[in-house]
């Protein structure tokens, strides 16, 4: 519910922007965006908990996530050196890159050979909502930040389906979920770094 209200707030922010009111500052937007992004990993953890730990051998390596092509900072120093525009761009790119996979996951979840596939599918739907609202908020944010921040890298998703047999479907599903979990962490971290940079007036929020 908090997310919904935040989505509503973001939409209100859009309206405000339309009528040229600058009631909602950048920092507030960042705050809300980061709060929204914070929820992604949590949700993913819940979804991931349904899956038993799988044999590492069979699990595809995380480097095979489709977003691994996107260059992102690997540690704190690198991350702190990244510019704000790039940070927001990375966040938005990552978010965008997961729209299609989420669609696939949501379509596959109900037929997943898993006892709690109902919970999983509802979680997937939830993730879709979060992503959508976060994406909208970030769009508003970049409008405020300027044109140079609006660059988005396009990361295509080529995975057609999860596989044919039951085991591979489960494995691939789990793999996709873990990739998304990591990427949601990245998005969250980038936005929080961005927030701290944007709110120099209120260091206590960092």
């Amino acid at each position: 519910m908090a997310r919904r209200s935040q989505g509503t707030k973001l939409h209100l922010a859009v309206l405000c922007l339309v009528v040229s009111c600058h009631a909602i500052g950048l920092s507030d937007l960042m705050e809300r965006a980061s709060q929204r992004s914070d929820q992604l990993p949590h949700s993913l953890v819940h979804a991931d908990s349904h899956f038993p730990p799988m044999g590492r051998v069979m699990m595809p390596r995380p480097s095979m996530c489709h977003t691994s092509s996107l260059q992102t900072p690997k540690d704190k120093e690198q991350a702190l050196r990244v510019s704000e525009n790039e940070l927001i761009s990375l966040a938005r790119s990552l978010l965008l890159a997961w729209n299609d996979p989420l669609l696939l996951l949501s379509s596959e979840a109900p037929t997943l050979p898993h006892p709690s596939n109902g919970d999983i599918s509802s979680k997937i739907r939830e993730l879709q909502d979060y992503s959508k609202s976060l994406g909208d908020g970030l769009d508003i944010l970049v409008n405020k930040m300027g044109p140079s921040s609006q660059y988005i890298s396009s990361i295509p998703f080529k995975g057609g389906d999860l596989g044919n047999d039951k085991t591979s479907r489960l494995i691939n599903f789990h793999f996709l979920m873990s990739c998304f979990r990591r990427d949601s962490h990245k998005i969250d971290s980038f936005l929080k770094v961005l927030r701290c940079r944007a709110t120099k007036m209120r260091p206590e929020t960092c």
Binding site: D38, P41, H42, V45, R56, R61, P62, S63, S68, T72, P73, K74, D75, K76, E77, A79, L80, R182, H185, K186, D188, S189, K192, V193, L194, R195, C196, R197, P203, E204, T205, C206
Partner: protein
């Protein structure tokens, strides 16, 4: 020699296995990675536990490789984090990268690999405990409160936003068992209110990254709360004092109005009022004197009198054909014998009071002569107990009766069906039907009590005819056990009268009526009893103190005369009956108390002529009977 060899061999064979056992080595057991943790998302440490060492010194080494390369690295630092640990410093730590870590145990005989573990640093963040936890007591208008403040752990870089920490603290009294936990979010300060005065509190704080593990609790900080009176308690004291004050005031007020409160809460039970019972006498005198005054000769009635004492009901009918004067309208109402029950001083009358009984025979009260009618409040119960004997005929009445003529219906139940029977019945033959059931308090004045000549077989009857009407209404209830005494107030209003036909339920021969000359004064006639002829034995109560028989009730001497009937001259024919009179015997009133006969004239002024008939009538009946008392309770239903 050989023995020595054998001995050495034996010894060797004994010793060698032992030695050999001690010298048996095996490769080390399998180590196991227990946990990896990163306090700041920049470095991390992994710990393992060793398996069996296999009897040889064993070394452990950790190897890892990152997810997208096959290069295996060894742990750079085995010492910083303690034994069986590997510390990865900043340079070697990558975020969002999976580390595949393996620990190898090696001894002289071999080595053993642990199971590999995948670690992503971003998921294993567990910060250190918050630092500089300070607790202070501050004052507020509501009382003291605790202010707890802390700082993030040194290593966590929250300033750049790399790590976002949320905090939690817990508080308890030193001697308490349960902690009280509070989430503080991202703030580094917290206030705790509602403290126990004089208590010692313990406070601890911990933190957690947005996606990670909780840190350990900080070391407890102690703080003592100074003594104070809680504001709430002082408020309660104030409330208590205020209520006590109000309570005192209320008590004082109640004490002042003690009597009225008592009267309100505990209404006084009305005391018994027995006629003739002198309470003062009771208080002062001896009980015997008091009770003696209550003794009535005729009471309790003797068994022989019981028959006579049976009181039947009288129906009092008002002549319907006769129209009432305008004032007569009241009569109609009155005719219903609605008497307002009035409470008089006498008590204990309620049982006979019944609206329904009276209303049953609500008939129209009609007066014969309109013109001469003047309807006083007939039947309007004043005291309700008295009926008025009215003079219908002005001719009869010379002297205008001044006072308000009131017909007071008798308290005893009485349903006077008053109906005008015919023209000239204005008599009051009070003959009570004998058989009228008295189980209830219905009564009806028999039809023939009244006006028609037939109802008056009595020779006195014609005398009644012309009488305009004395209306006697009375009520009585049959009380087998007690005689009935009616107090009859004969008041004759010269001008107002209504036709009340008082009829007996049963036609009785005796229509001996006693013509009552119109009189203006209020006369009380007491019905002593009902004789077998269903005649009311009336005895005029003389307010003048005359009285054949002084009823020793402590009150005014009353004379009782039995009304045989009302003759045409509107004369109440009173009868006297001896105490021991059997049916049909009448005591001569005059005989007994000759003076009484005179009274009637006095009652009806100017009607000396009536004395004659009165007297003559009285000759017939002579006995004065004192029967039981009828309590003329004016609790008759109001009309």
């Amino acid at each position: 020699m050989m023995w020595r060899d054998v001995g050495v061999t034996l010894i060797l064979s004994l010793i060698l296995p032992v030695v050999a056992q001690g010298a048996r080595h095996t490769p080390p057991g399998k180590p196991k990675l227990t946990s990896c943790r990163s306090p700041d998302k920049e470095t991390f440490t992994c710990w393992w536990e060793a398996g069996s060492d296999g009897g040889r010194p064993t070394t452990y080494s950790l190897f890892y490789h990152k997810e997208n390369s096959e290069t295996v690295y060894e742990c750079p630092d085995y010492h910083t984090a303690g034994a069986n640990s590997c510390f990865f410093n900043k340079n070697e730590t990558s975020i969002w990268v999976n580390y595949n870590i393996t620990v190898v145990a090696t001894n002289a005989l071999g080595n053993n690999f642990s199971d590999p573990v995948d670690v992503d640093v971003v998921y294993i963040v567990q910060p250190h405990t918050p630092e500089n936890v300070t607790v202070g007591v501050l004052e507020d208008e509501d009382g003291p409160f605790l202010r707890v403040s802390w700082e993030p752990p040194r290593k966590a870089d929250t300033r750049s936003g790399w790590i976002t920490l949320i905090y939690e603290l817990r508080v308890k009294l030193e001697e308490a068992e349960e902690w009280e936990e509070h989430r503080a979010g991202q703030q580094k300060m917290f206030n705790i209110f509602s403290l126990h005065s004089g208590g010692v509190y313990m406070v601890q704080v911990r933190c957690k990254p947005d996606h990670g593990f909780w840190s350990e609790w900080s070391t407890a900080s102690y703080v003592k709360v100074p003594d104070y009176i809680p504001r709430e308690r002082s408020m309660w004291i104030l409330i208590a004092v205020f209520s006590a004050f109000i309570f005192l005031i209320l008590t004082w007020i109640i004490t002042l109005n003690r009597s009225s409160v008592k009267h309100c809460l505990l209404p006084p039970v009305p005391g018994p009022k027995i006629k003739g019972f002198d309470q003062q006498l009771l208080k002062k005198g001896k009980p015997e004197e008091v009770f003696n005054s209550l003794v009535v000769q005729s009471f309790p009635p003797r068994s022989t009198d019981y028959e006579d004492l049976l009181v039947e009901y009288l129906e009092v009918y008002v002549n319907e054909k006769q129209e009432l004067m305008p004032e007569g309208k009241d009569l109609r109402d009155v005719g219903c014998l609605k008497s307002k029950s009035q409470s008089d001083n006498d008590s204990g009358r309620g049982s006979c009071d019944s609206h329904t009984l009276l209303m049953e025979k609500c008939g129209g009260v009609e007066s014969k002569d309109e013109s001469s009618y003047e309807e006083p409040e007939l039947l309007q119960g004043q005291a309700g107990s008295w009926e008025r004997l009215e003079r219908g005929d002005s001719q009869v009445v010379d002297t205008p009766d001044s006072s308000d003529a009131r017909v007071k219906t008798w308290p005893l139940v009485f349903s006077p069906s008053i109906h005008g029977s015919s023209d000239n019945h204005h008599y009051g033959t009070l003959e009570m039907p004998k058989q009228h059931s008295t189980s209830e308090i219905t009564y009806s004045v028999p039809d023939h009590l009244f006006p028609t000549s037939t109802s008056f077989p009595h020779h006195h009857h014609p005398e009644y005819r012309d009488s305009l009407g004395e209306y006697s209404e009375y009520r009585h209830s049959r009380s087998p056990s007690t005689g009935v005494l009616y107090h009859w107030e004969a008041q004759h209003h010269p001008q107002a009268h209504s036709n009340f036909n008082i009829r007996n339920l049963e036609r009785q021969k005796e229509a001996t009526g006693l013509g009552l000359p119109p009189s203006r004064s209020m006369e009380y006639v007491e019905v002593q009893k009902v004789n077998q002829e269903n005649q009311l034995v009336l005895k005029p109560l003389s307010s003048h103190g005359r009285g054949p028989s002084q009823v020793q009730f402590g009150r005014a001497v009353v004379d009782y005369s039995k009304v045989n009937g009302v003759n045409n001259d509107n004369v109440l024919l009173l009868q006297r009956q001896r105490e021991m009179a059997e049916a049909g015997q009448y005591c001569d009133y005059r005989e007994k108390e000759g003076a009484e006969a005179e009274r009637y004239p006095t009652q009806q002024q100017g009607k000396t002529t009536k004395d004659g008939p009165v007297a003559t009538q009285l000759q017939e009946s002579t006995c004065l009977t004192t029967s039981g008392y009828v309590d003329t309770v004016p609790t008759m239903p109001t009309f």
